[in-house]
Symmetry: C2
Subunit: 343 residues, 2 copies
């Protein structure tokens, strides 16, 4: 590695029985130059066996040390697993409790490398939550796990495409619990994180945010709910004092119309489907999941493990490519090398 | 009127101080042939004064009887107001309690004409609910008022565009109340109404429906809410016994992606924004509001009264045109003349 070379981007495979390995292999096969300075944080075997199944002939290099890896035209694997962690016996399409510990250990090792500044960003393929839960993984998903590892109390899930950026105030919870999960402090914190990261990582000098109302027509002057008046408006007023530009709360149904969505750099949504419905309607396959509020850049695909397609070759790898491109774009636009300062 | 001429379509202006009159006048001015066999259920004055403000020169004919109206190239008004109902003094942009009774009376008269078979369909411009409420109008909106007049306990709000049709299980209520508002019987009834009207009024012989889950990822095997298992799935099973084709409950965020939405003739949504966000994101200005389950055809614009634009001429009239075209299309596709049978 030349001294000028920045630290590599790390990519984790998620569930090795899912389509994570397929997407990486197919994307590398189609566009090897996209993987310049990318290292896969996984045992080589998870990729080499799947490559054989798919009939893809790729040079895959494994090292036990992240720093020593560099070879143009090869797919680079850093195997971070301590000796003794079982990682073999992956059957495409069939999850197994035997790999759960290794899956978690790879994500952990990759995250710590980012936190130490030995990697510049993290790109993740999807995990199979049910398998990990049975092995004691006590997080609703990747995002919450990474937040814990980084010691951050609150992070923000964003989905971004060429059409739209949406940020979520709440994520994976029953719809009936959303209203009670909102409070002024947390909403204000999420608005601050979104504003901060749009400046810090997207290179926007004056980000324009809009906040969706929770209720239909943003409550229509409290005829259909009062969370707009009781929570959302006070949170907006709070962050406006810090010079953060937030419009709203605005009726969510018209906010995603073509005329309105282009007015804002990100639309902050009260709940999962309020943000994910429009971005997937407008940009399916092209949307990237981003975690804001971490001390490093993290992007992810917008699809699941698709176990039934693993090993079949019938997989779209556009989302992993978009996740990689988004991480690179964010690195390029980052106004200060936070990842190195954290090291 | 020749004997072969079907009964006219009736159009109500809604709030006369809003943009309803503007939209009608501008649309007539741009495309008078669209108004062939359309009658405006309103006093002529509400249109003629606005026409003057807008500088539009149109022949507007008023009659006190619906049946006698017919003149090519003129905008026809049927004034259904009983003598003594005040309807004057409309100022563009300024609502007034003095016109509330007349607004309600026009909608009532037009609805009764449809129920008697003297009109073939109803197209409505937006009302200003706050003004009507203050005058004792005790309905969340048009839809519920029409249902009451027609003696229907349950109707279904649909929005339709060239891209998508969405039907709603609940409409104007706080988000936190949606989960408890759902029950198996009502969901099943809404699915039946949607199926019935897609056959009856859209000419689809075997409508394909999909039902959205309420919770993120449709609850992900009850990890995020149990309404899918407790309410939505049993409702689907119930209507499947009647031969109704309904898929779901499916994760709402992916259901509106281009690949999936084209598989269905309508997507049934649990709440207002779940359906209105995607259709307005994909088809703003082109979406038409339709009430299913009434004994007559009713369409409406997808916008509000926009009081600040009334009388300015800066108004898009595409939505009223789409609402008229949709009503005509539904009339053409109706497999049995229910409106006449009701007469």
């Amino acid at each position: 590695m030349t001294p000028a070379q920045p630290p590599p981007l790390l990519l984790t495979l998620g569930e090795p029985a899912g389509i994570g390995p397929d997407c990486v292999l197919l994307a590398f096969d189609a566009q090897p130059e996209l993987f310049n300075n990318i290292t896969i944080a996984a045992p080589r075997l998870w990729l080499s066996e799947r490559a054989q199944e798919l009939g893809i002939n790729i040079d895959i290099v494994e090292s036990r040390s992240l720093k020593s890896l560099s070879r143009v035209g090869s797919l680079l694997c850093w195997n971070p697993l301590p000796e003794g962690v079982a990682f073999g016996n992956v059957t495409a399409g069939r999850t197994s409790a035997s790999t759960a510990a290794a899956v978690i250990a790879c994500i952990e090792a990759a995250t710590h490398a980012c936190l130490r500044g030995e990697a510049s960003a993290l790109v993740t393929a999807p995990i199979e939550k049910a398998v990990l839960r049975d092995s004691g993984f006590d997080f609703p998903g990747h995002t919450e796990f990474l937040a814990r590892l980084a010691g951050r109390e609150r992070v923000v899930m964003m989905l971004a495409s060429s059409q739209l950026r949406v940020a979520l105030l709440t994520t994976h919870m029953p719809l009936k619990d959303v209203a009670t999960a909102l409070n002024i402090e947390d909403v204000a914190t999420s608005l601050r994180i979104t504003h901060h990261d749009l400046k810090q990582r997207f290179g926007l000098s004056s980000p324009r945010l809009a906040l969706c109302g929770l209720n239909p027509h943003a409550g229509e002057q409290q005829h259909f709910g009062d969370e707009e008046a009781a929570i959302l408006t006070p949170a907006i007023q709070q962050v406006k004092h810090d010079g953060i530009d937030v419009a709203g709360p605005l009726p969510a149904d018209t906010l995603f119309s073509p005329q309105m969505r282009k007015e804002y750099d990100a639309i902050v949504c009260c709940y999962h489907d309020q943000g994910l419905i429009p971005i997937k309607a407008l940009s399916f396959g092209d949307a990237v999941n981003i975690t804001l509020g971490l001390p490093f850049i993290r992007t992810s695909v917008d699809h699941g493990t698709a176990l039934d397609r693993a090993g079949t070759g019938k997989v779209s790898y556009s989302s992993i490519m978009e996740a990689i491109k988004m991480a690179r774009l964010m690195l390029m636009n980052s106004i200060a090398p936070e990842v190195n300062r954290a090291g």
